[in-house]
């Protein structure tokens, strides 16, 4: 297998589909969908394969590919994955694979362009998770953000033009601020060794004085934090969620937010002392995320807004886990990134399915849908249970690990955070009760359940993933752990020093 560019294949597969779609006629919808499905299936298959061939014992960055890009400035196309990236790549593959099917059902006009932007975005996401070069890391990051503009602007629902502009500008601002930090790292690292390079491995292998680390970590934390979204820089996110079409919400909440957390993890790895300095702050802000997000979610009547705020609440747990900087906490955080990605993709696909028929997402507009759409109701219930952290589903394992980790480092934070689960359970169960149970309403008699293969596939697939990881977490935790252990060790060594 030596020299087989599996990472490039995973990333270039959607990109190749974009180029192919350029030459396809708009009217040939079946061909358009076929290309999208083929490319995402290939990525998914390869990502699964990657999960199994990644050498957990050896750990570190594997499947490295490196091609010089701009020699005079030390930029190269440099890919490689560690355990954390493997999990994130798999998550991306799962979400886009199901997203393609959700768009099949939900998108009715300008179908070809929709898939082109969707796949372009995904190529960017893959790129971020795989890049070992800071320039490419940034470039892919932007590539993942920019297609959101047309995706929400063209195919979105109410208030889409405002939402999409807000989102694009907010995220680009974060990216620009992070860029300045990354550039500073490039020059500081270069002046140490005399070789100016954007190679992340090289930059991370050096040590910087703590004052510098503390200063530079801040723009990186802000830049990536905006995407998480770290409170108080989260306002772009729920409006974006609410306006986006289903598949885009799935990608946005399922994967894009994880880019932010992933970026923070990488920044911690490069600047361990800076991270140690700022992590208590992150832990504090994570509580705001958990409770503010949760409380607002409770007050929302629009289901998409509810899930949108609930996402920023869940990302609070992820941040708390990251802030613990111990092995179990960070493992939990990464697993939660994975589990929440799958769970929230399921949530948005289900809400989208109902919305496309009913043209409303207001909780009070519905009642007793379970009688009309039993399949959707069951799927929604499973999603709600996962979100509330019930055992047997992936989120439970992840949240448990986060809490165990948090109790060691921040016992007060952890105790407060546990109550967040009650908040989540409250709005999830209440939404389930109001929408799917109680008396059925006459006006929803025509509502159709998910009955065709294409409609059911994404739901079944996502639920299966939640269950598999819930019952057998080590299938993915072992891989994540191989990436987390060296990271945490480096951070703890910095603390002692």
């Amino acid at each position: 297998m030596e020299g087989f560019p599996i990472l490039s294949l995973i990333m270039l597969s959607p990109l190749a589909a974009v180029i192919l779609l350029l030459f396809v006629d708009d009217a040939r919808v079946a061909l358009v969908r076929g290309i999208a499905i083929a490319s995402t299936s290939l990525s998914l298959a390869l990502s699964l394969y990657l999960l199994f061939i990644y050498d957990k014992v050896k750990g570190g960055f594997q499947f490295i590919e490196k091609i010089e890009w701009v020699q005079s400035l030390g930029i190269s196309y440099h890919l490689g994955v560690d355990g954390i990236s493997v999990a994130m790549v798999l998550l991306t593959s799962i979400v886009i694979f199901t997203g393609v099917f959700v768009s099949w059902v939900g998108i009715k006009h300008r179908i070809r362009e929709h898939y082109m932007f969707l796949l372009l975005l995904v190529a960017g996401v893959y790129g971020v998770f795989m890049s070992l070069d800071l320039v490419f890391f940034f470039l892919f990051y932007e590539l993942a953000v920019i297609p959101m503009y047309p995706l929400i602007g063209i195919w979105g629902s109410a208030n889409r033009e405002y939402a999409t502009m807000n989102l694009t500008l907010y995220l680009s601002l974060g990216a620009m601020i992070a860029l300045l930090g990354l550039l500073s790292l490039y020059f500081t690292a270069g002046s140490q060794t005399g070789v100016y390079t954007f190679d992340m491995l090289q930059i991370a292998s050096l040590s910087y004085e703590s004052g510098y680390q503390i200063k530079v970590f801040l723009p990186l934390l802000f830049g990536f934090g905006v995407l998480v979204p770290l409170a108080p820089f989260h306002s772009w996110s729920p409006t974006g969620h609410a306006a986006a079409p289903s598949a885009v919400s799935m990608l946005h909440a399922g994967v894009l937010m994880k880019l932010g957390a992933y970026g923070i993890l990488r920044a911690m790895w490069i600047l361990p002392e800076g991270a140690q300095f700022w992590m208590p702050w992150v832990a504090g802000l994570s509580l705001i995320n958990i409770f503010y997000g949760g409380m607002v979610a409770m007050s929302r009547r629009d289901m998409k807004f509810m899930i949108g705020y609930s996402s920023s609440s869940h990302m609070g747990y992820v941040l708390l886990g990251i802030a613990t900087v111990n092995i179990i906490g960070v493992n939990g955080a990464v697993l939660l990134m994975f589990a929440h990605g799958v769970m929230t993709a399921l949530a948005f696909s289900l809400i989208g399915f109902v919305y496309d028929q009913a043209h409303t997402r207001m909780i009070y507009d519905f009642s007793g849908l379970a009688k009309k759409v039993p399949f959707v109701a069951v799927a929604f219930a499973i999603m709600g249970f996962a979100s509330s952290g019930l055992p047997g589903l992936a989120n439970f394992v992840a949240e448990l690990m986060v809490f165990i980790g948090a109790f060691k480092e921040y016992p007060v934070h952890a105790i407060i955070a546990v109550f967040g689960i009650i908040v989540t359970a409250t709005y999830m169960l209440r939404c389930m009760r109001d929408v799917f149970f109680r008396e059925p309403m006459e006006k929803w008699d025509d509502l159709r359940d998910a009955s065709t293969f294409v409609e059911r596939l994404p739901f079944v697939f996502l639920i299966a993933v939640l269950l598999i990881v819930g019952f057998y977490p080590s299938v993915i935790v072992d891989v994540i752990n191989s990436g987390v252990v060296p990271l945490v060790n480096k951070l703890n060594a910095a603390q002692i020093g």
Binding site: P150, E161, M176
Partner: protein
């Protein structure tokens, strides 16, 4: 003394004179032939470029080096495209006169001379030669009030800026007793930064801001961009800006290099104000040409940021930026002319639903504007990235943060145009016809912009090696 080093300029001048003479003989209907002859002349000048040897010419007034060749390539590219845009444009104009083509070719040859100057005298002469051509071009459609006003504004600010320049030059001459860039640098190396020299530097820097449309001599640009014939706007936006920066590189990076400490902070301040003004003022614009004008002021701010960095990296970044900028501007203005020919409007709102009416025009504006705004993976992104690198390297943090914030503002107003084209529905669904040659040209420009973003390696290595030779 080697006149052969000026062959590209001579070819251009010869072409311009030929066009003037042919004006007498060719029948009125065959004006398009002028454009073709102009383009052929430019292409022959381009063919001569790779055969140039490096060295001084005309008693050390001009020099042919890597940098002058690079910039001459930029001018040649702009010239070909601008002449082509004129051919598209002229059909719509009633009181058209054939000198238009020849004056454009004269202007290009002036820029080429400017790129080669190594002496304040030669610099001033070339600059004024170019300026007079541009004054005429800006006011060419003299029966239009908007154009007349634009031309007058351009003339008055230009004359004022020239005054600043010549005054500054005289101060520097007084301090150093030399007019050659290298001699001035040599004299300044041992000189103290007295008030005399500082005044010279300040006046000169201010005078130079006219050509690049930055604060404080930027006031002409929105009116002229809007009022001047669109091909002239393209010429001013693309080639003329490049000409301004090659001069800045030669004067600040060579002649005044020993006084680096004095002008760096000054340029940095100008850059910061220009960035803020250009980008913020672009936000409310409704007319696409005006929007691009204000954005062009913003771009001048970014380029000055690289100038203020005063390093090889900065010089390389400027050269890369200008190349991507020229492609962005050419694509944009070709699309504007085609659209204007069909619709008679430059308003952003009239572009609504363009993606349906002409996917190629919409795509060209999409690529061109987003490249100028600095979206990856387009050439403009890489260029902006290099400029930020240069600023961060020298520790110009305030400027870098302003630049970062203004990049977001830039995204905002360009996205408004994109929104109009792609998110709105057209009021008039009739498709807009684009002829085959124009299509080919637009494909080429778009491909170049994308290629510079996806594979910037070779051009970067080239500009960085040229930048090393500047000092």
């Amino acid at each position: 003394m080697n006149l052969f080093r000026l062959i590209p300029e001579f070819i251009m001048l010869g072409t311009a004179f030929l066009l003037l003479i042919l004006e007498l003989f060719l029948p009125k209907g065959s004006r398009k032939a002028f454009g073709v002859i102009g383009i052929l002349g430019t292409v022959s000048a381009a063919i001569s470029l790779p055969y140039q040897d490096y060295g001084l010419a005309l008693a050390g007034l001009f020099v042919q080096d890597q940098m002058s060749i690079y910039f001459k390539w930029l001018f040649v590219i702009s010239s070909v495209f601008v002449l082509y845009i004129v051919m598209l444009y002229e059909d719509r104009i009633t009181n058209w006169r054939g000198e238009f083509y020849s004056i454009i070719v004269f202007a290009i040859s002036g820029m080429m001379m400017l790129a080669s100057t190594t002496d304040f005298v030669a610099f001033y002469v070339s600059l004024e030669f170019l300026a007079i051509c541009l004054y005429v071009l800006a006011a060419f459609l003299s029966d239009s009030r908007v154009t007349s006003e634009a031309g007058l504004k351009y003339l008055i600010t230009g004359a004022l800026a020239s005054g600043f320049l010549i005054y500054g030059i005289s101060f520097i001459y007084g301090a150093t007793g030399a007019t050659g860039f290298a001699e001035v640098a040599k004299a300044l190396q041992t000189a103290e930064p007295t008030g005399f020299v500082i005044i010279g530097i300040v006046l000169m820097v201010l005078g130079l801001t006219f050509k690049i449309s930055s604060i404080p001599f930027h006031v002409w640009s929105p009116d002229v961009y809007q009022g001047a014939p669109t091909p002239v706007t393209a010429l001013l936006a693309a080639a003329s800006k490049a000409a301004g920066f090659v001069v800045i590189l030669r004067i600040l990076y060579v002649a005044l290099w020993p006084m680096k400490a004095e002008w760096m902070a000054f340029v940095a301040v100008i850059s910061g104000i220009t960035l803020l003004f250009g980008n913020l003022a672009a936000m409310p614009q409704k007319d696409l040409k005006r929007l691009v004008a204000y954005a062009g002021i913003g771009s001048a701010g970014y380029l000055l940021m690289a100038v203020a960095a005063a390093s090889e990296l900065g010089a390389g970044a400027i050269m890369f930026y200008l190349l991507t900028y020229i492609f962005g501007i050419i694509g944009t203005f070709t699309a504007i002319v085609v659209f204007h020919n069909s619709e008679g409007s430059d308003l952003v709102e009239s572009y609504s639903g363009l993606y349906k009416r002409s996917p190629l025009l919409a795509f060209t504006l999409f690529i061109g504007l987003l490249s100028i705004a600095g979206f990856p993976p387009l050439g403009g992104f890489i260029a902006k990235f290099y400029i930020f690198m240069a600023a961060v390297k020298e520790g110009l943090w305030v400027l870098a943060v302003i630049g970062a914030l203004m990049a977001i503002v830039g995204m905002y107003y360009f996205l408004l145009v994109i929104k109009s084209m792609y998110l709105r529905q057209p009021t008039n669904p009739a498709p807009i016809h684009v002829d085959m040659t124009t299509r080919g040209l637009l494909y080429f420009v778009n491909a170049a912009t994308i290629l510079l973003g996806v594979y910037p390696g070779p051009v970067t290595d080239l500009v960085m090696s040229i930048a090393q030779g500047v000092f």
